[in-house]
Structures are given as C-alpha cells and as structure tokens.
C-alpha cells in the first residue's frame, strides 16, 4: 500500500520543524542499533523472539527497547530502538506524538540510498557494507557529493506506530487479550440467545391442541367455556360433598328422616335414640362446620349447610 503522507528524515542535528499535518518519519542510524545475523529460522516472529539476547551488552540496561526484524537477502536484520527516547527527541524538534503517523528506519530502504544523502551541513547518510550509516560530509570524496533527493517514495511498507504504543494505558498484547475474551463471551451470548429463540416444544404442543380442538383457539371462547364448566364443576362438587358430610353423620342410634338438597343448601333431619347420641351427633356436625338446630321436645336435630 502506497503511503500518501509526507516522509521526514530525522537526524540528531536537524533543525526544529513546524508541522501543519501529520507525517511519517524515517530515523537515521543515530536512533537505532543495527545487527545482522544468519539464523536457522523461517519466520520473522521466531527471529524477533531471540532479538533481546542478540543485543546483550550492546544496549543500555536501564532503558526499554523495542525490536524490528526483517529479512535482507540471506540475513536477518535486527533493529533495536528506544521509543521513549525517539519520542522525546521528536518532541524537542517540534514534532509531537500526535503528528507522527508511522516511524520507519533508514535501514529498511537500504537499496534506495544509491548516493549519499545530506543531513544538514556537516553529515551525510551513506551505505557502507549494505548498512546505512551517518558519516561526516568531510569524509566524502569529491565525486560522492550528497545529491540524493529524499521524498515519500522512500517509505517502506512496514512501520512502527508511535501513537498506539505510547500514551496508551494498555499494550497491544493486553488489548488483543481483552478483545479475545470479550469477543468469546459475545459469541457465547449470541449463541445462547439464538438457542432460546429456537425452543419450540411448548408451541408445538399448543398447536397440536389447537388442531384437536379448533373451536377453542380463541382465548375469549376458551375463557367463556372454562368459566361455564368451572362453575358447574365447583357447584356440583360442593353439593356432593354436602351429601357426603350428612351421610357421615349417620351412626348407630341415629336415623335420617328427611334430606333435602337444592341449588344453594342442603338440610337433613336426624332422629337420635337418646340425648347422649344427639349430643354426639351435634358435636360431629359442628366439627364439619354445619349449622345445627334442635327440634323442641325431642332428640331430633336439623343439620344444614350452604353450597
């Protein structure tokens, strides 16, 4: 992908700049440490894993370094850089972090430095033994005048994002880890939601009942029919319970002489052989919550209940 942003070469003696829009920057070797190795690894991520050990003793231990690894012919090229230092330097030259889109390294485009590139009055960028280096301009021969024109065509494809790495509360690794966990749960929730959407057993049972009883599909009809039969059921059960209650009161010495069951009440006359039996009957009737009244000058009882 071709970049459309301007490319700015950054070197230690550069003057202060004033930017109106964000730019890509290319760092000279003054801002990174270069090492080339022939390693038996196939992929850049494998090479990157061993990058810190390659620079043992070459870098300041107190500082934190990042690494860029790429292949150049048969060799792996390792670049170690300190983002904090680079950011501070850029800031001192008027280039704020927000104005830097991508950071490139001169070594990435070693093939493009076909001639020396002037870095101010005193220095120049040249290629020596396939490595881009900064040399004093005085060291250049007469036929090696710094004539190279530097522009955005020097932009390589792969760069480092300064904005994403510094000022961020989370590292890219942490961000991807969180994102992974969140997305996993999101997928699980969606899957569960879809599963609930698919539960149909109750619907199928209802449908089968509707097919068997098409007249009861309307809830109004259903309610009407239900109320009608519920009332009948309740009333008739109460009537039968009433008769059952009265029949439970018949025991030795008690005779039923009259029983009436109507829509609203049930009533019975009982004759007892003695006052004791009559008392026992009365107690039993009251236990069943029935209304008891005595017939004068006899042991007879009238027992009644409401439906």
């Amino acid at each position: 992908m071709k970049t459309t942003k301007e490319l700015l070469i950054v070197y230690s003696s550069m003057p202060k700049v004033f930017l109106k829009e964000s730019v890509n920057v290319m760092l000279t070797p003054q801002f990174y440490t270069l090492k080339k190795e022939t390693l038996p690894v196939k992929y850049a991520y494998q090479a990157k894993k061993i990058a810190p050990s390659l620079f043992d003793g070459l870098l300041e231990e107190r500082e934190s370094y990042e690494y860029m690894v790429f292949k150049e012919k048969d060799q792996w090229v390792f670049l170690a850089y300190n983002l904090r230092y680079i950011e501070n330097f850029l800031s001192s030259k008027g280039i704020e972090r927000s104005m830097v889109s991508k950071i490139f390294f001169a070594q990435q485009v070693v093939d493009k430095f076909l001639a020396p590139l002037a870095l101010g009055e005193k220095e120049a960028l040249v290629v020596l033994d396939d490595s881009v280096v900064v040399v004093p301009r005085a060291a250049l021969g007469e036929e090696e005048s710094p004539t190279l024109k530097f522009d955005k065509t020097f932009s390589p494809q792969k760069g480092v994002s300064l904005q994403g790495e510094l000022g961020s509360f989370l590292t890219k690794k942490q961000a991807y880890a969180f994102m992974g966990v969140f997305l996993l749960f999101a997928v699980l929730f969606v899957a569960e939601g879809l599963r609930y959407n698919g539960v149909k057993s109750a619907d199928e049972k209802l449908q089968a009942l509707y097919e068997a009883h098409p007249a009861l599909q309307s809830s109004y009809t259903r309610e009407e029919v239900l109320n009608k039969y519920r009332n009948i059921d309740t009333q008739e059960r109460k009537k039968r319970e009433g008769v059952k209650k009265l029949s439970n009161l018949i025991f030795k010495g008690v005779t039923l002489t009259h029983l009436t069951l109507t829509e609203n009440t049930y009533k019975a006359n009982f004759t007892s052989v003695s006052a004791d039996v009559s008392k026992k009957l009365e107690a039993l009737a009251k236990k069943e919550s029935l209304k008891v009244s005595k017939v004068k000058k006899s042991h007879d009882l009238i027992i009644e209940g409401a439906i």
Partner: protein, 133 residues
C-alpha cells in the same frame, strides 16, 4: 488529543460494547422467550382444563348413563319423567340398601342436581330427584 493514541483502549471498548450488546440480546431473548413460554403454558393449561371439564360435564353419553337410574330399582317403585335434557324421577318404598345404591349412583353421575329429596316413610324411603345436563 489523537484517537490513535488510545487505539488499544478503543479496540477493547469496541469489544466490550459488542459483549454488552450480545448480552442484552441474549437477555432479551431469554426474557421474551420465557414470557412467551409462560403464555403458551397458560394457554395449554387452560385448554387442557376446558377439555377435561367438557369431558365430564358435556359428556354426550350422559343421556344413556342416566337410564341406569331407571333400572337400578324395581320399575314399580320408579316414576320416570325425562324431557330433553331434564329429568324428574320419584322413587317410592326404597329400603336402606336401595337408597344407598341410588344415592351413590346419583352422586357419581355428571349431572347438575337441582333437587334431591329423601323422606323416611315408615321403615322405607321416598326419593325425589330433579336434575339436568
């Protein structure tokens, strides 16, 4: 401030929003589904109750079953009057056993009893039954 400066946080936030939306989706599905299931269950219960009640109280064979009240006791003791879906029947001179059998039968029939009267006459009983279905 550039948004790019916080692109990692933005990625996490976007994923978090996605998580929240998917949770809300799941929650809505579960809620609406359980409400729907509840409604359907109610309808099923209602329907089953209607069917069960109709089976008892709107039994088409009840007219036939009623006839057994006529044959349960000797015919000379029965005065039978059946009109459409209404029955008036008088029993006379029933002994205690016949009364018990008759009462049990009447109470087990799915009919609406409008009057059930038992009168003791000497050692026997007279019964009047009015019912409809």
């Amino acid at each position: 401030m550039s948004w790019k400066q916080y692109q990692n946080e933005i990625i996490v936030l976007a994923a978090l929003f996605l998580l929240l939306f998917s949770y809300m989706y799941k929650h809505n599905e579960v809620t609406s589904r359980s409400e729907h299931v509840k409604t359907v269950q109610n309808s099923i219960e209602e329907l089953e109750e209607v069917v069960a009640l109709k089976k008892i109280w709107a039994d088409k064979k009840i007219s036939k079953k009623i006839e057994s009240l006529q044959t349960l006791v000797p015919s000379n003791k029965v005065k039978w009057q059946k009109k459409s879906k209404k029955l008036t029947v008088n029993y006379t001179d029933l002994d205690a056993n016949e009364l018990n059998k008759l009462t049990t039968k009447i109470l087990n029939l799915p009919v609406s009893i409008t009057l059930f009267e038992v009168k003791k006459s000497g050692s026997n009983y007279n019964v009047e039954l009015k019912c409809k279905w």
